[in-house]
Symmetry: C2
Subunit: 151 residues, 2 copies
């Protein structure tokens, strides 16, 4: 059994924007232990970077694929957005995160392009990075996160 070759990305940006490098794809899970075992078994890797993110009251861990990462996000308390998502929609795909060099500059870009924000400035996220979420309406229903700097 061999995995497929990585696709040849034909990215050729015509314009620099904050939405060009995917940092991770996040999956809402009820329980990080159970979901972590399942995903790491399927993907043949360890769960990386497990931590409690106090500012969002979640527990996260990363499944590192060859070309992008899957973030598993579990609620650490019952009144968080992730808990509400799980209650209303069940476990599943939750958001896409993009890497940016400077989150203040990225949020300015968003405001200049009239993209509605959930976070007006960066706040502490996983891996010691500053993060900010856009309102899902900014991407037609998809929740998008910005993460500053490298993981």
């Amino acid at each position: 059994m061999t995995d497929g070759d990585a696709p040849e990305f034909r990215h050729h940006s015509m314009m620099e924007t904050p939405f060009q490098v995917i940092d991770h794809i996040a999956v809402a899970v009820p329980d990080l232990n159970g979901a972590g075992s399942m995903w790491t078994e399927r993907c043949g890797v360890d769960l990386e970077g497990r931590e409690h993110v106090a500012s969002q009251s979640v527990e996260v861990g990363f499944v590192e694929c060859a070309n992008a990462r899957i973030e598993l996000v579990a609620p650490a308390s019952s009144s968080t957005p992730i808990s509400r998502f799980l209650t209303s929609r069940g476990p599943g795909l939750h958001h896409i995160a993009f890497c940016v060099a400077d989150i203040d500059e990225a949020l300015s870009w968003c405001r200049a392009h009239e993209l509605r924000l959930l976070d007006e400035k960066g706040r502490p996220g996983a891996e010691g990075r500053r993060v900010a979420f856009l309102h899902p309406s900014a991407f037609g229903g998809v929740l998008v996160e910005l993460c500053e700097g490298k993981a």
Copy 2:
């Protein structure tokens, strides 16, 4: 405005599985023209590979990010799974697709690991590739697709 550097992927597979290279992340959209304009403007790229996939009765197009691709999927008729998804949940993240070298071998791996399948064998997908979907229960609620060969 500069985009962030790509994260340094620390992928070190302990075991080869069909779920190691992300081919694309799919977003269900009601209308490919409208969503295509929105995503390409946000991401600063053109919409690539637009086509009608008759076997699934969908229209697709790809937004090529630096390290992975976002597939926009719109219904081409009203009785498709994508139409039902849009009706029940609205536009949003729909599935993750992984690249595999050989889809028959990948589906055999899935059966050997008791992963429930929606497609027992590969069928024609976008870009002239053979594809197969797993049942969402195989990944705890996340719909996963396998795509054979390179895009």
